[in-house]
Symmetry: C2
Amino acid sequence: MKEIERAAEIAGAWAAVSPTTRAEVITKVADALDAAGPSLIEIADAETRLGTARLTGELARTTFQLRLLAAGSGSFYDVRIDRADPSWPPGPRPELRRYRTAVGPVLVFAASNFPFAFSVAGGDTASAWAAGCPVVVKAHPGHPELSRRTAAIIEEALGPWGAVFGLVEGEAVGVEALRHPAIAAAAFTGSVTGGLALARIAAERPVPIPFHGELGSVNPVIVLPGAARERAEELAAGYAGSLTLGNGQFCTNPGLVFAPSSGPFVDLVAERLREIPDAPFLNDRIESGFHAGAERLAGIPGMREVVPGPGARLLEIDLADFVPDVAEECFGPLGVVVRYSRLSDALPVLSALPGQLTTTVHALPEEASEVEALRPVLADRSGRILWGGWPTGVAVTAAMQHGGPFPATTSPASTSVGTAAVERFLRPVSYQDWPSDLLPEPLRDDNPWDVPQHFS
Amino acid sequence: MKEIERAAEIAGAWAAVSPTTRAEVITKVADALDAAGPSLIEIADAETRLGTARLTGELARTTFQLRLLAAGSGSFYDVRIDRADPSWPPGPRPELRRYRTAVGPVLVFAASNFPFAFSVAGGDTASAWAAGCPVVVKAHPGHPELSRRTAAIIEEALGPWGAVFGLVEGEAVGVEALRHPAIAAAAFTGSVTGGLALARIAAERPVPIPFHGELGSVNPVIVLPGAARERAEELAAGYAGSLTLGNGQFCTNPGLVFAPSSGPFVDLVAERLREIPDAPFLNDRIESGFHAGAERLAGIPGMREVVPGPGARLLEIDLADFVPDVAEECFGPLGVVVRYSRLSDALPVLSALPGQLTTTVHALPEEASEVEALRPVLADRSGRILWGGWPTGVAVTAAMQHGGPFPATTSPASTSVGTAAVERFLRPVSYQDWPSDLLPEPLRDDNPWDVPQHFS
């Protein structure tokens, strides 16, 4: 596959170039995408029905992300230098210098729901480039024209570095690319079914490779009794807004709520949801998948329809009737409220939930001790836990964790948003007693790239 | 499986306890093993034939490793704190605090060739404990009594923390343990065949888990023409010593050498090898595997026997006759010398080698420019690259990398030796807008555990 072959050819040079040069190249891409903004947004809107406002924000986030990741401090090199020590126990140690370097060409499977931020020039591409890896993107069929136009802009902006990017299309081609011997790692955002199938292909290659898949999550929200009582209006408005943001087509969409069995919260959410105008789905396949999933959930014994759609939907079920299927993701604006009498009764259900990207708690300050008891369970099951607020905002920062135990992701140690996302595409190498002038720059005592170095 | 169930029960407490307390507990284990040294070494020698001197050193290394990993600076928590910032582009960001915490109960598959350092109380156990994970070890059948005795000493030393350790035996039980839902990650040191089979079981669980397997490596050594000419005696002695250390039963054993087609190096190695007395194999299975592997290598067209055994063996082949099978690991004291006329002719072969734990270069200072051309290829294929020396010493330090691309390992981003080995058993969690007094200790502003914190 020519995109992969040229990526493999340039991989060494891209990994070896200074982070400053890499940042300059990546910044040119960001500038070119910003400059082409209006035309890109027009294509994106035509293909995804997401609307100009949302798409404008998403493109800004995308180019910000490219610049932020490219401008990293170099801490991801994780440079460790052991001085030689003849008295090291239990035996003399040599000089060892270890850093993390690019793993090689990365294959990115683009997502449908963020045509900029999780697609061709999205977070996976940005972090693989920042790590020093060339990227081949398998375009999402939900926005083919936008993918091609974005790719063309990228290639032009890359200039002589053009080979660090390639676009391929089609499911079979994507699988063929994943099996290509020159691909060293892959990243994916999408469904559990699709992600698992690709993860297994990656694991069954003659040379297995790391597969960083971000799959499914229902992002539980737990409303404590006091908060439900005293802040019902505000929480209902906030929840309805978060549930319907982007028509619910967010991986951090809060699809499952635990709320007290009495009180006005659920009725207020229902009221708000009825006020929100129906929004279009990304495409017909997602729309029909949503309706099928909603029917499956509605058919669970004990499930009651609160808001029946056809737009946003709300279901509720008593905690006593909870079965694992209640926590199945239904991609779109659908919330299931699990009503509990005592929060402690919900603990066994919460601890048995599948892995989640996020879990959100709403509590009054005086309910802190109950949250404290809950915290280890939530942290065990989720990549990010929120006190207040809603999970649909995912800031691109150093401390963001957008990941979690399976099926939230196939690689629980990684994040696909934030500066730590770069770490997915690195591999450590130690140099033992290597002549100092032949060392790669980050390992040299004169530290020409000015990266953090830890001596011991 | 009761060992796993009790590990799962104590996992939260072990992860939450301060690193100081954890270090105290782990140090007690190290002290108890040291105190029992003479009796353990006696059992080990009877079961492995490795000899008292080697086993005494290995036990010292093992208890040093337990203490070193337990006493870590806490940098592995990788604490990142984002202050809330309403002006953060492209939208206001909340307060986010991210750290890495224990992944949960870890299953360790012990190795045969290091009955202390890569077995019951070895590096995998030490690093999982230091990360805050309980450990269940699947004993290696090569040293069952030693495994049981080590386990008994560990359990007694752990006192009230006894549940953070369990020992299980038998291949079927090991597979059952790997499939147990409470196991969150696994580590393995052993053969490519065994490791790949287990890696696939880990990947095909209903909830796949990370599998850190350290499998096979032939640890190429490249002798440049000048070094071969001017330092032939010294290099031959060094190579023969490294090849036969522990009767060649080391994962870093240098089984493949690239040397010039003319010069006395190979004859000198042969001389040295003939002087080295035969040593016993760990067990009959490894011995017969060695002989079978040696016969396969000897049968490759163009392969010549230089030292035919029955102890250490040396084969040679011309570079022109090189086929991928030449680089198949033969576990034991067997070296294959690939003879080249021009070093540059060897480059395509070197770049196509399977992933390696180590690659070693022997060159004169004036041959630096040739090594410089070689370096990217070596770093691409290996976890550690050495200038001079021999790969069989693996220091336990901050900058050690004992890992590499497949099949050296199934997880190229990790190491199984050194302080970075702890990172295999961690998972990041972000806390968003969480009340400061309810945060886990590493994330608090008052930093009660005194771990490194990075603010942005």
